[in-house]
């Protein structure tokens, strides 16, 4: 009661004050500009920052119907989902701001919804796709310095230290990725692919994800340039988050003249491998790079040494050498020669190379890098993927005959030291389809052959002639041929594009000049993918794809317990789709795929079914 009485008194008091206000309102002056007492902080408009948003909305309706499944399948054969299981944004809202002090900041909001019911539990959390970044520049008479903190940021400095895997643009563009940009019209994507006949696409996939402090110095005295980062990559990580695990690197470049530059690169990666930080897994790399241009030729050479160590005896110094000689101007025939030698002791997982000698540098930490496990045991890969414990070279060339464009390459590689009794290879057909069955899983499938990483699946083949340590006593040799053709014709005044992609890889015990198809090959992988796009009208394109892959092993590879026979896999894909422009910066894409994966010798390796995808993508700026 006492409390109620107080409330009543206060209320009466407030009413009286308002009555007072009303009574004297003719005489008094209220000055909002004066500053009367306030128990709260005085609010005012401070400095403002310019903020803009760009991004896209992408709806992906996905239906998979499996008519043949692996025997250990859950029993569920049809999946109806929004998105294709991978962590991709439905609404990507890229925020970019600049303060009055010219400091940039940015973040990318990722907003997803499962559309799986109205329960709040089914709504996904708002999160960031990559992370936060702060960036500023300082200019003085000694140069311009760009400083950036945060991440994830994309960084590269040289092929042997930090560089993303570069492709030779030999791929099927039938499949669409979330990042695939929209073009003005549906056919433009295929037109651009047809026209961009370069052997090397440059920086397209050439960066690595880093977090930390990034510094770049430009226009320094004596034509020096520097760049560096100290922070973390998603490789070489400690089990305990707060333990030391850092990767730092820098590059010092001197431009001697317009056609010649030299640079020094350093990389150091360390990670505690026990809880108290007594032992570390670490590797250091030092390289020198030369970049020389002539009229029509560009030569890039990088050479260096690296050393890896962990709780065991450190590996000896490892040498590395990689050289590229290529034409720079478009001409009838352009070529690219790549030679490399990467010793087994040269360990790096952030460079443009696959590590095959130290498994532990791959993280297996949830949320950090479980998804980045790459082929490890003697990978049989396409051109443009250097591998350590290997040496060899590749010649790539492309030329045009009217509307017929051809580009291709041939490569020969050999191991430097005998390695593990195993080979791994990445599927070229149905790779994304199969990876969606079991995301980021290792050693799965009815025979535990399969390993999934981002939108790809690779297999590990065990060899039976290994010793008790699991190693073979011979060198493995690898041959690769890649051939891509592009053709454009017009039918009823409509553009039609035809693309073919042939890839042949083999691994055998002896040196051969071309891929081996006989049983002398430990494993042979051949694939052909034919894509066609047909312009129906300016807003509509029809696309089709047919893929066929054959993988054959010999008797030294895995044998089925029942048949006693090695791999004889075939992978088929038949796809048809439609690209339709619904408005400016908005398109619909439909894909329907029939897939089949079979192996008569491994009876459980049978997959068959269909995938249907409806994608609506809207960009906004």
């Amino acid at each position: 009661m006492n409390f109620d009485r107080k409330i009543l008194k206060v209320t009466v008091c407030i009413v009286q004050i308002f009555i007072c206000s009303h009574t004297y309102s003719q005489r008094q002056n209220f000055h909002p500009d004066s500053i009367p007492f306030s128990s709260n902080v005085t609010l005012g408009k401070g400095q403002t920052s310019n903020i803009s948003f760009t991004g896209f909305y992408r709806f992906l309706g996905y239906i998979r119907n499996q008519t043949k499944t692996f025997p250990n399948n859950s029993g569920k054969t049809t999946a109806i989902t929004i998105g294709d299981f991978y962590r991709e944004p439905m609404l990507l809202l890229k925020m970019k701001g600049v303060t009055k002090d010219e400091i940039s900041f940015g973040a990318d909001f990722m907003i997803n919804s499962l559309y799986k019911g109205v329960s709040e539990d089914l709504n996904r959390e708002l999160t960031l796709e990559l992370g936060l970044n702060l960036k500023t520049s300082i200019s003085n008479r000694y140069g311009k310095y760009n400083i950036k903190t945060g991440g994830v940021s994309w960084y590269r400095q040289s092929r042997l230290t930090v560089w993303g895997n570069q492709s030779f643009n030999r791929t099927s563009i039938y499949d669409r990725r979330p990042q695939t940009p929209l073009t003005d019209n549906p056919l433009d994507r295929y037109t651009k692919f047809y026209n961009s006949g370069l052997v090397d696409q440059g920086v397209r996939y050439g960066n690595r994800a880093f977090q930390g402090l990034f510094v770049e110095g430009l226009k320094l005295p004596l034509n020096f340039h520097i760049k560096g980062v100290i922070g973390k990559s998603n490789f070489n990580r400690s089990e305990i988050v707060t333990n030391d695990n850092f990767t730092g690197c820098f590059k010092v470049k001197n431009i001697l003249n317009d056609s010649l530059s030299i640079s020094y690169q350093h990389l150091n990666s360390t990670a505690d491998i026990d809880s108290i930080g007594l032992n570390q897994r670490k590797y250091k790399i030092n390289t020198l790079e030369l970049d020389k241009k002539w009229d029509n030729i560009r030569l890039q050479i990088e050479a260096g040494i690296g050393q890896y160590s962990d709780s065991d005896e450190p590996l000896s110094l490892g040498d590395a050498f990689i050289a590229n000689l290529k034409t720079t101007r478009s001409s009838l025939v352009s070529f690219n020669v790549q030679l490399y030698r990467l010793s087994p002791q040269f360990v790096n997982v952030t460079g443009n190379l696959l590590n095959t000698t130290v498994l532990e540098v791959f993280p297996n930490i949830e949320g950090v890098g479980a998804s980045v496990r790459l082929p490890f045991k003697s990978p049989m890969v396409g051109l443009g993927f250097p591998v350590n414990n290997r040496q060899g070279g590749a010649l790539n060339a492309d030329f045009e005959l009217g509307k017929f464009k051809i580009n291709g390459g041939i490569g020969l590689f050999a191991e430097i030291e005998p390695s593990s009794a195993g080979i791994s290879f990445i599927h070229n057909v149905n790779s994304e389809t199969i990876s969606r069955l079991n995301l980021f899983a290792q050693n799965w499938g009815p025979y535990n052959f399969l390993n999934s990483n981002y939108r790809r699946v690779f297999e590990t083949v065990e060899l039976s002639d290994g010793d008790e340590n699991g190693n073979v006593d011979y060198l493995k040799y690898f041959n690769t041929i890649e051939l891509q053709t592009k053709y454009n014709l017009k039918l009823f005044n409509r553009n039609i594009y035809l693309f073919t992609l042939t890839q042949i890889n083999s691994c055998q015990k002896s040196f051969e000049s071309i891929p081996v198809f006989s049983d002398d090959a430990l494993i042979n992988q051949s694939s052909l993918i034919v894509d066609m796009s047909c312009e129906l009208n300016p807003k509509t394109s029809m696309v089709m794809s047919y893929g066929l892959e054959r993988v054959k092993g010999n008797d030294l590879t895995d044998l089925d317990e029942e048949s006693g026979m090695p791999r004889d896999q075939s992978n088929r894909l038949l796809g048809i789709g439609l690209d339709y422009k619904v408005g400016d910066q908005a398109m619909i894409f439909v894909r329907h795929n029939f897939y089949k994966f079979s192996d008569p010798n491994f009876s459980y390796n049978q997959l068959q079914g269909t995938e249907t995808m409806l994608e609506l993508k809207i960009n906004f700026n």
Binding site: P36, F37, I103, V241, G367, V368
Partner: protein, 583 residues
């Protein structure tokens, strides 16, 4: 999930606003905020003969965060404010370690051009004895070179000036008159510092409310009379406890200014009283009993002299605070000594709990407190024993002297804060503690003195607290704590400042720590001996683009030595980097 919904709505609202009308966006929606990148790496320094195989040798942490303040002005004089925090842990990739939270949400405006209101997250301050966030130890231990740490601690704990961050409604308005009095000002607020929450399935704590108001009468330019009231109370029906708090505090003050040419002589008299009790409704007859009732008054007088050009000011005053004066919103401490430290809470083969040390007071944002405490919080007499609860510290009676001198061109800046106090009644004895304190700071700006373009400054800080009590061997106590700080700042290139600093702290003697029950009733004393030395050495590099835009790289060497078998010494090294940007 509710927060997520808020975030969704908020973001879509931003989109809507942006897409609605680009030309009006600048007027109706504007942004500011704060961004920070932080990295720390701490190393445990061990003796060579140590065989600690359990405690990690090093720990590293870091994050990037962006507090995006969105101000929406839908109509003139109204604003909706939302602070969205995006935080990305250093080392988390592709969404791992990412959090997005709504940190503040507030609507404010002026109703009919007369009544100003704020609804939501508000920052309140009334008087030193009713509602005040006393900086306490924070005012003692920060050298200039630790400003980066201080910024983080204050920002993360919402310490804005001397205000408590609360959630509720605040109104203020004023009248100006032609005759008799110059103006009449009113201010009211009602907030909820703590909502009801469950301790167990059947035991719910009640909502806690803090409300209050002020009326200020300004008869003329020289005199200001104010009356203030706050009440912290609990609403018993919102919980299942039968006991609920009442803590009204009443305050009156008269403020007189005498203007003499370029100076002002100001005198302030503040008086008031408090009452704190708990209503016990557990009686089956329905009668409500007041338990643990404590009433107390206070009196504070200060005479202040200051130059209008801010080059000199001095305050001399007297303060009397009853032993039973209790004011929840004025006596709550920033530091919670019961909090575990963030960095190496266990050491010495994980067998020792590390207590809060000098460096933790400087750097650990998690030991600081944002919630009001209805009883007196625990203290560490070594770090603050004379005014641990600020000017409203109960059971104090004494004089204080404060001053500041700054030469006209700021070549020399001197600060002084001193006081001599005694207890009003003895604790556990008739003998009274006597206290003396001295805090002084001196800064030389050599660049101002010699006209250099690059900043060169040296600053020193010295503080001392003495506590004595006579009587028998059991009654007597003597505690001395001293602190010395020295900073050197040297600008070697434009806006690049090299930092060097040293801070040492020592406490020797003995004290008795009060044992209080959950109602704050004194139940006993623990005798504690102190013989402790804390030390922090720092070197660093500061790039100061603007006052609120800087990058700071520091290397700190710090530790504590205890001449005691109860506590093991510890020493650490730290690398600290922060990039702080006000957007």
């Amino acid at each position: 999930m509710t927060i997520n919904n808020h975030i969704y709505k908020f973001l879509f609202f931003i989109l809507y606003c942006i897409s609605f009308n680009a030309s009006s966006q600048e007027e109706k929606v504007w942004f500011d905020g704060m961004a920070r990148s932080l990295f720390t790496r701490d190393v445990l320094v061990e003796d060579e003969d140590s065989e600690d195989t359990v405690t990690p040798k090093n720990v590293s942490n870091g994050y990037n965060l962006l507090d995006l303040n969105t101000h929406v002005n839908p109509i003139e004089d109204f604003e909706i404010f939302a602070q969205l925090r995006l935080r990305n842990t250093f080392g988390g990739f592709f969404g791992s370690g990412t959090t997005i939270n709504v940190r503040q949400l507030r609507a404010s405006g002026v109703i009919n051009n007369k009544v100003k209101f704020n609804l939501g997250d508000i920052f309140l301050n009334q008087t030193k004895f009713t509602l005040h966030n006393y900086e306490g130890e924070m005012g003692l231990f920060y050298n200039e070179n630790f400003n980066s740490y201080r910024d983080i601690v204050c920002y993360e704990n919402f310490y804005l000036e001397d205000r408590w961050r609360l959630q509720g409604l605040q109104l203020d308005f004023s009248f100006e008159f032609d005759r008799f009095i110059r103006s009449l000002e009113y201010d009211f607020f009602i907030t909820r510092p703590r909502g009801s929450f469950s301790i167990s399935d059947t035991y719910y704590l009640s909502d806690q409310i803090l409300s209050g108001g002020s009326m200020i009468i300004v008869p003329n330019n020289s005199i200001k009379v104010s009356m203030n009231y706050v009440n912290t109370f609990e609403i018993p029906t919102t919980g299942t406890t039968n006991i609920s708090l009442r803590n009204p505090v009443y305050h009156w003050s008269i403020n007189h200014n005498l203007h003499i040419k370029e100076s002002v002589i100001n005198q302030v008299v503040e008086v008031g009283f408090s009452n704190r009790f708990w209503q016990d409704g557990s009686d089956l007859n329905g009668e409500i009993e007041h338990i643990h009732n404590s009433e107390g008054m206070f009196l504070d007088y200060s005479g202040n002299y200051y130059n209008k050009d801010s080059t000199f000011n001095m305050s001399l005053g007297y303060r009397y605070i009853d032993p039973n004066f209790r004011s929840t919103a004025a006596q709550t401490k920033r530091i919670n000594y019961n909090s575990p430290v963030t960095l190496y809470p266990d050491y010495n083969s994980l067998s020792s709990n590390r207590q809060i040390s000098l460096f933790d007071l400087i750097s650990d944002e998690n030991i600081y407190n944002q919630e009001l405490s209805t009883t007196l919080m625990g203290i560490n007499p070594a770090y603050s024993n004379i005014l641990p609860y600020g000017d409203a510290t109960p059971n104090r009676n004494g004089f204080f002297l404060k001053g500041l001198y700054s030469s006209p061109n700021k070549t020399i800046i001197c600060k002084l804060n001193s006081g001599v106090y005694s207890e009003v009644i003895g604790q556990g004895t008739d003998e009274l503690r006597s206290f003396s304190m001295l805090q002084s700071g001196l800064k030389f700006n050599f660049h101002k003195l010699y006209g250099w373009s690059k900043k060169v400054s040296v600053s020193a800080l010295y503080s001392e607290e003495n506590t004595n009590r006579g009587g028998s061997e059991i009654e007597s106590l003597n505690l001395k704590s001293r602190q010395l700080g020295l900073d050197v700042n040297l600008e070697f290139a434009n806006q690049f400042i090299a930092q060097m600093g040293l801070k040492s702290f020592s406490a020797t003697g003995n004290e008795y720590l009060n044992q209080r029950n959950i109602y704050g009733v004194l139940e006993g004393y623990d005798s504690v001996d102190y013989n402790q030395k804390d030390m922090v050495v720092n070197t660093g590099l500061l790039y100061q683009l603007k006052e609120n835009v800087y990058a700071n790289l520091q290397y700190n060497i710090w530790g504590s030595d205890f001449d005691s078998e109860l506590n093991q010494d510890f020493n650490f090294n730290r690398i600290f980097f922060v990039l702080s940007v006000k957007l």
